[in-house]
């Protein structure tokens, strides 16, 4: 028996020593790059965007042999949670992709670096001033918009055409859209589209079509429980009629196109942002086309051009200049722009937009053409959403779950949401 024990002891000791060695290696991330500076760059998106981003990053590394970029990406929901956790732990990535909803919270929380200090490396002169301003909080530039996006109804061209329902035109009102969804469901036996009731974005479009907004200028709620109850009554009826996706499918939405009913072959259309819609190409065999979002009854457009996503730098990065170089490359370099195409929306740098515009092909061209068709018809974007909105987006989905699973009336769910939203915006 003692022999056994010695053997076991040795094995344990060896294992411990090995752990210590491995931990030692893991701890020194800086030296792992072989003397290079290592930047962590995180973003959300789909595999299409991943392939292009990797290619662009490789080109950046080629031009800057002293820098190595570690990238990581995930779906939007998972990304949002992970970034919040990292930021809270004081360890945000060096370069991070941000959403409109995160800017205010992250900037005022001291997570982001003031990019004004990196002006020498990071050129912003080429960016549309209106769009650039959306990355500004209390006078300081905390993030640079990377693309311009707008919402769209992406649809399966073949399924739609075969159904005999007329294809969407250049504009439609919500009622016409609802008729089309019902007709599609009748003809194809599948829902016409994703239930838009769970989407705060779709609700915003509907609201703006009536001249209202999600938030007022002084960061309060811009609508009443009655408004929201009307929206949810409208979508709930469509769901009961089978015109839009059932609750079991709607609840699987997590921000990735793979988990939308359209992506899973269970519906003919999906309301989404135009840039991520490129992900549908790989999933929908019949081909994907883009139609505008429905407008208000009097033709008031609800959708708008939004800075689709931003890039920011962690406030305490040890390589601010290099991080700024990477952002500059992704936003202002024409070779990078050619690789990235419209995967994060149409480029914000006007010179680059003009330069790569004609060379865009495939779905990038579809997105560019779609945006061009809307140019001049849309209203100004709303102010950046207040901090609390980041959490309310999830609350919105949850409360609508209660409606679509028929556990609450639209009226009661709407009242719940408004109560929580008011509390959230106050704190």
């Amino acid at each position: 028996m003692p022999g056994h024990r010695t053997k076991g002891f040795c094995a344990t000791a060896a294992a411990l020593a090995l752990c210590a060695v491995l931990a030692g290696c893991g701890g020194s991330g800086e030296s792992a790059g072989g003397g290079k500076i290592v930047l962590r760059y995180t973003w959300w998106g789909n595999p299409d965007r991943a392939a292009r981003t990797e290619k662009a990053v490789a080109l950046f590394e080629q031009r800057h042999p002293d820098i190595r970029v570690q990238t990581s990406f995930s779906g939007y929901d998972a990304y949002k949670q992970k970034l919040a956790t990292q930021a809270a732990g004081g360890d945000p990535p060096d370069v991070m992709q941000l959403d409109y909803r995160q800017i205010d919270q992250y900037a005022s929380g001291g997570v982001l670096l003031d990019l004004g200090r990196q002006q020498r490396v990071l050129r912003t002169a080429g960016i549309d001033p209106g769009l650039l301003a959306t990355g500004r909080v209390r006078g300081a530039q905390y993030a640079v918009p990377q693309g311009r996006g707008t919402e769209t109804v992406a649809y399966d061209v073949q399924a739609w055409r075969r159904s005999g329902v007329p294809l969407p035109g250049r504009s439609w009102a919500w009622d016409q859209w609802a008729d089309a969804m019902r007709a599609l469901a009748r003809k194809t036996g599948k829902p016409g589209g994703t239930d838009p009731g769970q989407s705060e974005d779709a609700f915003e479009v509907w609201l703006r079509g009536q001249g209202k907004s999600l938030y007022t200028k002084d960061r309060r709620l811009g609508f009443t429980a009655a408004d929201l109850a009307r929206w949810w009554t409208f979508t709930d009826r469509l769901r009961r009629q089978g015109a839009v996706s059932p609750a079991e499918q709607t609840t699987q939405l997590d921000g990735s196109v793979e988990n939308t009913p359209l992506g899973r072959g269970k519906a003919a259309s999906d309301a989404n942002w135009d840039a991520p819609a490129s992900g549908f190409q790989a999933l929908v065999k019949g081909g994907v086309a883009l139609a505008p979002m429905p407008s208000g009854a009097d033709g008031t457009p609800g959708q708008y051009f939004k800075p689709s996503m931003f890039l920011g730098i962690g406030a305490h990065t040890s390589h601010p200049a290099e991080a700024a170089q990477l952002i500059d490359f992704l936003v202002d370099d024409s070779d990078a722009a050619k690789i990235l195409g419209a995967t994060r929306g149409i480029p914000v740098n006007e010179a680059i937009r003009r330069e790569i515009g004609p060379s865009l092909t495939g779905f990038d061209k579809t997105i560019a053409d779609y945006q061009a068709s809307l140019e001049g018809t849309l209203k100004d974007p709303p102010h950046a959403p207040p901090s609390g909105d980041n959490a309310l987006q999830t609350t919105f989905q949850r409360d609508y779950d209660q409606v679509s699973y028929e556990r609450m009336s639209p009226r009661r769910a709407a009242e719940n949401y408004v109560t929580e939203a008011k509390a959230e915006l106050r704190s």
Binding site: A84, S108, A247, E248, T251, Q252, R398, D401
Partner: protein, 312 residues
């Protein structure tokens, strides 16, 4: 440690310096060897606990400095947050489903394995494996795929996706836990092997059948082990997180049906950035688990049977 802390009488202390120093040295050595544990416990457990207790009385959004709000978080939790109570109810439902099912399965398998002559080692490992794998995120994700609509269970049973039905989703979460019955099973097995064979022989001589033997010999003899497993699994069940998180993609859906306590705590802390509120929730959970354990200990007096008591 306490004994060495007591200062030695002055008379003895003044005796020789040589006698004192080895003792000091020994004490020093003890501290050196203890230091990893002491450091770990202080830095990784006690300090965070103290900070979390402090945060529970503040409004803290992770980014800005905490603001003292007194008992507001606790008041809000108990009086103004219906979702909080829903998460409490969901967790209790989960505990009531998962713990008895898991223990029953663990005991049944342990009984089956006990009498086995050959291949015991193989089956023991086979049944234990899910406990090792089950804690991992990847298995939970596979579980989600299996119970999703269009998934395996949907195909086999035609019941649709369990994880997308508010009435079924929590059951899918519980099933994932029940499946990981390996740890209590091994403990049961050890307990079963401690029961003297003479007791069964005596019972058999008295004409007791298998069921009678189980009720009158196995259960009472095994009751300390049963109690141990019950306490351990109950405490664990109250803290269930990973399966609920993975199955609902972190949202506790559909329609809040898998929003267990810790998941809601996570949601408040890291999604909604109300770390103060989340800390308050954590302290209430600690208190409740403590209370439930105390109640279990209290009831144990009437049903847990120790052989030593008999001899007393």
């Amino acid at each position: 440690m306490t004994t060495t802390d007591i200062p030695a009488p002055t008379a003895r202390r003044s005796a020789t310096a040589a006698r004192r120093s080895p003792k000091r040295e020994r004490q020093g050595a003890a501290w050196v060897f203890l230091s990893p544990w002491v450091l770990g416990a202080t830095v990784l457990t006690l300090l965070p606990m103290a900070v979390s207790l402090y945060l529970s009385f503040t409004d803290y959004d992770l980014f800005n400095p905490p603001r003292w709000v007194g008992l507001r978080n606790y008041v809000q939790m108990f009086t103004e947050d219906p979702r909080y109570w829903r998460s409490v109810l969901t967790t209790l439902t989960y505990v009531v489903i998962a713990v008895p099912l898991q223990l029953a399965l663990a005991l049944a398998v342990a009984l089956a394995l006990k009498g086995m002559k050959r291949g015991k080692g193989f089956y023991r490992s086979a049944f234990y494996a899910p406990s090792l794998l089950g804690a991992s995120m990847s298995v939970a994700l596979v579980w989600r795929a299996v119970f999703n609509d269009g998934g395996t269970v949907d195909h086999l049973l035609g019941t649709g996706g369990w994880v997308n039905r508010p009435g079924w989703a929590l059951f899918a979460v519980a099933l994932l836990t029940v499946w990981q019955f390996g740890a209590p099973m091994v403990i049961f097995l050890a307990g079963l092997q401690q029961i003297p064979a003479e007791l069964y022989e005596a019972a058999a001589v008295d004409g007791a059948g298998r069921w009678r033997q189980f009720v009158s010999v196995t259960v009472p003899m095994l009751s300390p082990v049963l109690f141990f497993n019950l306490v351990l699994q109950t405490i664990q069940a109250f803290q269930v997180f990973t399966p609920a998180f993975a199955i609902s993609a972190g949202k506790g859906g559909p329609a809040d049906s898998t929003l267990v306590y810790t998941l809601y705590l996570y949601d408040r802390g890291f999604v909604a950035s109300h770390m103060g509120y989340a800390s308050a929730m954590a302290w209430v959970l600690l208190f409740v688990i403590g209370a439930v354990t105390a109640v279990l200990f209290r009831t144990s007096r009437s049903w847990v049977f120790y052989t030593s008591e008999e001899e007393r």
